[in-house]
Symmetry: D2
Amino acid sequence: VIEEKEFECGCKPSVIPFEKNDSWQILLVGKLNDPEVFPVFSQVIKQFKDKQCTFYVENHSLQKFKDQLIKDQLSEFVDALTEFNSQNHESIIDIIVTLGGDGTILYTMSHFQNRYSPPIIAIEKGTLGFMCMYNIQNIEKDIQKILQNVKVNRNLMVERKMRIHVKILDDKGNIAKQNGVEKSYHALNEIVIDRGPNASCLKMEIFLNNEPLTKTLGDGLIFSTPTGSTAYSLSAGGPIIQNEVRSISLVPICPFSLSFRPIVLPECSELKVKLTEDNRGQGKVSGDGQKIFDLLPGEIVHIESSDLDVYVVRETFKANNVHEWMVKLKKMLNWNSNFSK
Amino acid sequence: VIEEKEFECGCKPSVIPFEKNDSWQILLVGKLNDPEVFPVFSQVIKQFKDKQCTFYVENHSLQKFKDQLIKDQLSEFVDALTEFNSQNHESIIDIIVTLGGDGTILYTMSHFQNRYSPPIIAIEKGTLGFMCMYNIQNIEKDIQKILQNVKVNRNLMVERKMRIHVKILDDKGNIAKQNGVEKSYHALNEIVIDRGPNASCLKMEIFLNNEPLTKTLGDGLIFSTPTGSTAYSLSAGGPIIQNEVRSISLVPICPFSLSFRPIVLPECSELKVKLTEDNRGQGKVSGDGQKIFDLLPGEIVHIESSDLDVYVVRETFKANNVHEWMVKLKKMLNWNSNFSK
Amino acid sequence: VIEEKEFECGCKPSVIPFEKNDSWQILLVGKLNDPEVFPVFSQVIKQFKDKQCTFYVENHSLQKFKDQLIKDQLSEFVDALTEFNSQNHESIIDIIVTLGGDGTILYTMSHFQNRYSPPIIAIEKGTLGFMCMYNIQNIEKDIQKILQNVKVNRNLMVERKMRIHVKILDDKGNIAKQNGVEKSYHALNEIVIDRGPNASCLKMEIFLNNEPLTKTLGDGLIFSTPTGSTAYSLSAGGPIIQNEVRSISLVPICPFSLSFRPIVLPECSELKVKLTEDNRGQGKVSGDGQKIFDLLPGEIVHIESSDLDVYVVRETFKANNVHEWMVKLKKMLNWNSNFSK
Amino acid sequence: VIEEKEFECGCKPSVIPFEKNDSWQILLVGKLNDPEVFPVFSQVIKQFKDKQCTFYVENHSLQKFKDQLIKDQLSEFVDALTEFNSQNHESIIDIIVTLGGDGTILYTMSHFQNRYSPPIIAIEKGTLGFMCMYNIQNIEKDIQKILQNVKVNRNLMVERKMRIHVKILDDKGNIAKQNGVEKSYHALNEIVIDRGPNASCLKMEIFLNNEPLTKTLGDGLIFSTPTGSTAYSLSAGGPIIQNEVRSISLVPICPFSLSFRPIVLPECSELKVKLTEDNRGQGKVSGDGQKIFDLLPGEIVHIESSDLDVYVVRETFKANNVHEWMVKLKKMLNWNSNFSK
């Protein structure tokens, strides 16, 4: 159940109840190749010392985590470390802490394909991230604040982000399989249909709410969430869409048309795409650049908004819903950097 | 009170209760310079014969209306014709019938600045219109259907369209006046700030929810509704936004920046714009190209979504919410007309 | 030697001397899968009956050509048909006749990599082509006119089109080889560097005249001739450039930048591109979509205008240099198809 | 007569002979409202002490110039100062020195409407300028170098920039007049046709080389030189064109079309524009934002490249023709400032 609370600006940010007292299940995800990740996580773990938590980490980094805890004289937490296995643990995680940029969050969400996300404490490290609400500089204090708020209000203030769901249907309308696995994905940024290694352009037909919308020839199509509007969609000419404008943007990649401008569709839209009969070769479907399916002739790409939202924890005391977004727009994109004049 | 009813596509179109039995107050607006307007309106009037309606028409066309009714042997309606006066009649109109294109609807809405619009039966004539749901070809039958539905269901199915509200504030925060009239307008398409006859570009600062968003130098700014996204905003490079995606698009006109891409903001956004201190000359503010205010140094342009929506009557039996929109997108804009290949 | 002659418009179209009397070497190229190609070529061949020509055709179509000639009672030409082999015949061809669209011409030019092209009589068939100056409707008469002009003026009026030359250099500055063949190509439309089947974006550095121009991250880069400006470059947002404006357009494909607008460089520019050291994976280089090289880390893509122009025969009596171009712009691209208003 | 000399890059920069020994006629133009202009010009004047020059300055700044010279103990130059009068002096000026940005050069060129420009030593001050090749920091040394080169080589190395010529023709084909003055202008950046204070969009028909190119509806049209391609044309979506690519870009301003992309035409093109018969109101024609003509129904705007080029002095020792251009592209436009990634 999600409650709403009013900001000064009139916006209603999302607040999710969080009533657990202890024995929290916490997933920690960081950039693998960055040795500085471990000391920061060590500090993060320490903040939860009165909660009897279990900390889930990815297999390959388990030993490094342990070493770091011992080094930091936090060996009492070593036994609380467990290898994360999405099949077993997806449903029980209470909180996620990520350390990196947006890519780390996208990757983490690939493990949460059957439920809305647990609240994510997203810490920026190295690269800037639109979704990262915390910085390693103040992370100890910030986590204290979050925990204090949970204690007092039994809830977490979050930014609720829509995902977009793609599934590939075969000619009987069933979800197609690749290597025995269903071709289905809930993406946080975007679904892309492109030609992959294919030399020829793709010829596709697009249906909106079961009616033919248009045929197109080009390098591909992007179906983006507002979160994805500052990623690949933007580089293909799509508009920048604020998170609260829940919608699906359809943005063509290098279309053979002078007039195929991006269109922004309501969240409730149902989109279908198929290769036309005179298309040569096959296509490729990807979600957040993570999962990749082949798109075969006869198959239908079915796209709609996902029921499984993502919740990113944000500071409770900020009055203005779009403040961070504005700051990042200018800082990360150099949006509207004027000519020298 | 607006009820919602579910479409096949999952969308919820708007349905407004309409419980009047008779003595309807009907406003008729058409293109003045088109003599063919009068015979069509004559047919429209006839459909309401059992309602004891008053028909309001604009002053300059009153006599032509009367002549037409007599010519069509409908002289019993002549006394039902009254000169429309927005000051007296804005609040009492029950239904509007427009004959023309989108421009006719925009013009009509300039008379409804203090209330949401009465339901509009928008008939396409001459030019195509995104908002026109009816065609003169079948208008008699279509109005019969609408009236039948009112009788049975006591309601009207409408497309609900947001407006955008601009007011100019003086340095004390009061609404500024021009010739004694408050500088305030509810626009259906867009608010435009531009340099008017001024030779120099405008230098402006934009605030979002009371925080500085950006400074800009250029020909002007467009703040568009979804309805306006296929009008001037589009010609300045803005995205096409479907009506259900309630939002405000900020689109610059010829900005002196390579990176000032359009952004789409939530409906609840509050925007303020002012000329910077080093701006030369003054600006111009217009709404739907109808009302024009001067923008003086020190004044603040305040923009937010309007409370006064516009309701356009649509066919009750169409299953798909975006069907007409798709059709018009392709027909009116040549959207995605592919290269010959 | 190329002479110039003045058009009414002031432009100087190209005229190439053509002084051969007979024993012409003619290359015929058509779309393979189109059975209607053969009857048209049969008519073309007949026009050259007093020239003692040899007709070169591609291996796979040789027999079909012969069958057609016999069917058309032109069996005296059967012995004049020879299988084309670019290695042996590239240097001796006097005239080319193509039947198809622009794709057929691009394909044909892949066989003329060591010389400027022989004059091409480009006949449009099936698809529209920017470069096709003749139509199958009047082809017999048109060829008569061309031959008559050759007889009288000893020259051919042509549209001279620049090509663009790519070569891949290894770390010693030598042309790299792939399967023993030098990585070098003269393209008529464009050179494209993209990521091919690679999942990651390409990080590249671009040098102009041996100085660093910019670093870029994205799907790839297009280096286009004016001829290519209405092909792939256009779908990536590049400008439309008239043939006489000899230049190289640099157009990024989905760049991770809001401000990487296309730039148009002088014909004499020398461009170099290399993958940056932190780029993941390898790239792909293609010319007119025909030849494809792998781009390996450490290699340098060297791009400059080619010395080997392409000459497309055009009507001698047209007064205006850009007339056909204008017509095709509107017909093929739907360029500036206005909104319905 | 202009000679050509080869750069390392293969480009041929322009070199103009300059064989005068003394009694030079020098025009000095600076930003009026900037008091720091005078000390710099004082230093400039001193460098010419052995030439017996006459220095022309604008009327309003004559006294300030004199005061500065006296203050700088250069009173021997006071008598060499003369008020500039374009009617009398346009033809006799040998060299121009400008101090400011590109705007100062554009303004200065408005006085040279009947001849190609004298060589301009363009000094950057305050704002960055694409055309400014010198900076106040080293201006004394730089002028010494220029003078030394003149002495030795009897020439000046310049960047040759094309201008674009507009004239308004009446219905008899004569140049129309406004207040007795011919409507004609040679612009260095661009010619703009827009609606000025008019509320309605302009409907125009465009002819290329006397054939109809297209009809258009919108805010206006820009006809830009390569020099102007980084100015207003760029803010309307036009491509960036390097100076050596002599051409005319046609760029629409907010056109009512999804497909009116910019086109780049050869230098020899002749363009004509007229208001269509159903256009409402009148238009406005401007050149470099300086001269403004009304455009009346029936008049024809005639546009072609000008014979009167502009010569900007550049350093003789720079090997690479486009070096400065590249530097300014990145510095002034933030061209291709990548996303943070």
